[in-house]
Symmetry: C4
Subunit: 197 residues, 4 copies
């Protein structure tokens, strides 16, 4: 099994999970209000859609930088990949929960569920990388040591950031979700962390 097929399969799951996010917009309930009001009223669903889309999109971007350093693959790496994709593919569900409950009394539980889900995703990313990078186990012979070290250094603060954003939900559910969006944007633009292409 070469790295290209793993990358193609992962890309497939990323693309599908990201596109399934739109299903959080299930029924448009107009009850006693006009459609225009109903569409505006569900603004938390748009926020949740954007934050989750950016987060998975950035993971996809960085996934390539990670895979470019990997020279060979073993079955344990494949198994961690499946677990990682399991969390990525799960994302539409917590996104929907947030969209549905962020304005109810259950908003804290919704934001915590969202945060825990994405923190587990970040943890599985870290596991994937540390398994590959420990003692250069699966690192390509021609990988740039600076990029490898840069990725290794960036995963710890990344996971802590996700965990911290999750804990913010105890103070404010909406702040927690917005923070996830900010983190995604930061990772997207901060090219020094994951190296330059």
């Amino acid at each position: 099994m070469d790295t290209r097929r793993v990358e193609a399969f992962s890309d497939g799951v990323f693309a599908i999970a990201i596109t399934l996010l739109v299903l959080i917009f299930a029924e448009t309930e107009t009850d006693h209000r006009s459609l225009a009001d109903a569409l505006l009223h569900q603004w938390p669903a748009y926020v949740a859609y954007v934050v989750s889309f950016l987060t998975i999109g950035i993971m996809w971007i960085n996934h390539h930088t990670v895979m470019a350093q990997i020279g060979r693959i073993d079955r344990t790496f494949l198994l961690i990949t499946v677990v990682n994709l399991m969390f990525v593919a799960f994302a539409p569900y917590p996104t929907r929960v947030v969209a549905e409950f962020i304005r109810t009394d259950d908003r804290r539980a919704a934001a915590l569920f969202y945060g825990i889900s994405f923190t587990c995703t970040a943890l599985s990313w870290a596991a994937l990388w540390y398994y590959a990078a420990l003692g250069n186990r699966l690192i390509a012979a021609d990988a740039n040591p600076r990029t490898v070290n840069g990725i290794t250094r960036s995963f710890l603060p990344g996971t802590i950031l996700y965990g911290g954003a999750t804990l913010v939900a105890f103070a404010s559910a909406i702040a927690s979700i917005v923070l996830f969006g900010v983190i995604a944007l930061f990772y997207a633009l901060e090219s020094t962390i994951f190296g330059r292409e």
Copy 2:
């Protein structure tokens, strides 16, 4: 990150978003009428399906012409790509809203929502291209200047056309939707705009 992987990921999101359009046909409500009547009665859903399918299909066709001119990619380009795909992947939702509300008193709001969504998609396309083309920032060295100029010239009227079709909804919601279909067909057949393959 090379242009081929961006193209493959984009193609994936395009293919999934376009295929998810069928989910606008959720429940077939037969209430007091026969199934035949119910299937005929929901003709706006078919129109919405066809218009959205053609629109995304044409975007996919033109996406290739655009990407063929791009020689290299940076993180800002990737981020704009993610935003662009975010609008493309959103399409099934406004399509469903139009299918559901085009014959109610809320038809104008439905058509406006649809039009705004696709105009945002067009704007993100324009942003993607102008970022790449400004000062030939990301244009391939061997790109044909005529094709590059042709694309640059076509994006402005394209966005205006979409915005105009959206505004038509204030006069007639159905005319607005039909207009989006006409624009898609025009872009499909008008090969001189995007150059010949």
Copy 3:
């Protein structure tokens, strides 16, 4: 735009449409019966799933034989491809209608809707091929004339078979659906029609 990217995009839509078929199994209604009874009671849904899956699967198989003869592509061919994919991606909906209504008094309308949908798909296939093959417009220089002629000869009876199976619904809705399954199996095994690989 080369034939490979068209093939990859088409494969994507085929794979997604075929996998979305499972969504015809929405809610499992157990009402007054046991789950075991409910699962057995919905046998028409399994039949519809199998027939549609085989039909799209066979179309995918034959699609490759068709594309292998195509040497170049123009915008009209791309537009017909989009229309063709529009019908393929629509398949989960008539499949669900059949699964839901085949045992009600509306069975004839359901089977007709199913048959018309797949006949339109077959017609768009024929349009795709005849456009490419007429005067060898898009046929590859090194294509085998025997294979090209074989495909040309097989599309007419193919479309007639689909139209005929649709008309059978006036006599018996279930016979019509079963007939679509038989046609799919016939096309799968009858390698002489589409030539040998």
Copy 4:
């Protein structure tokens, strides 16, 4: 039709089916309980999600080892592939049934339905392989005989394991589902069965 396109199409169906599993989380019913309680209360859905995800993930991993031994393809092999994918793509439905009914009186029927579905998938895998391997019908000239024999030897116990895990549902529905998870993990880690990469 070369093996690469079959592999790509299969990978597509695998990736989509695995990602559609998240749709088993449809509505989050909070009835009289808090969201936190509702999310915890649906733990069987998480278990079902994980077991099905791992099972399809492992099938994807092993699929590659199988395809790497295949040198050429005929139409019968393609037809068995379509049937195999039909069972793989079906997986989200029994997963949902298990998630929904594992704590009702219908738990045994749910687990049996799940088990039968995955046993059929395993049987279609075995059919695919034995058709290709019998008398080296489709085996590549340069395939490693040890790997080929290893796969041949592993399919029989694999199918028996799945059938056995299904029968366990008569004693305990939950034990049956857990057993499927254990089998998936075993196949993931036991590299000696499917050979080393």
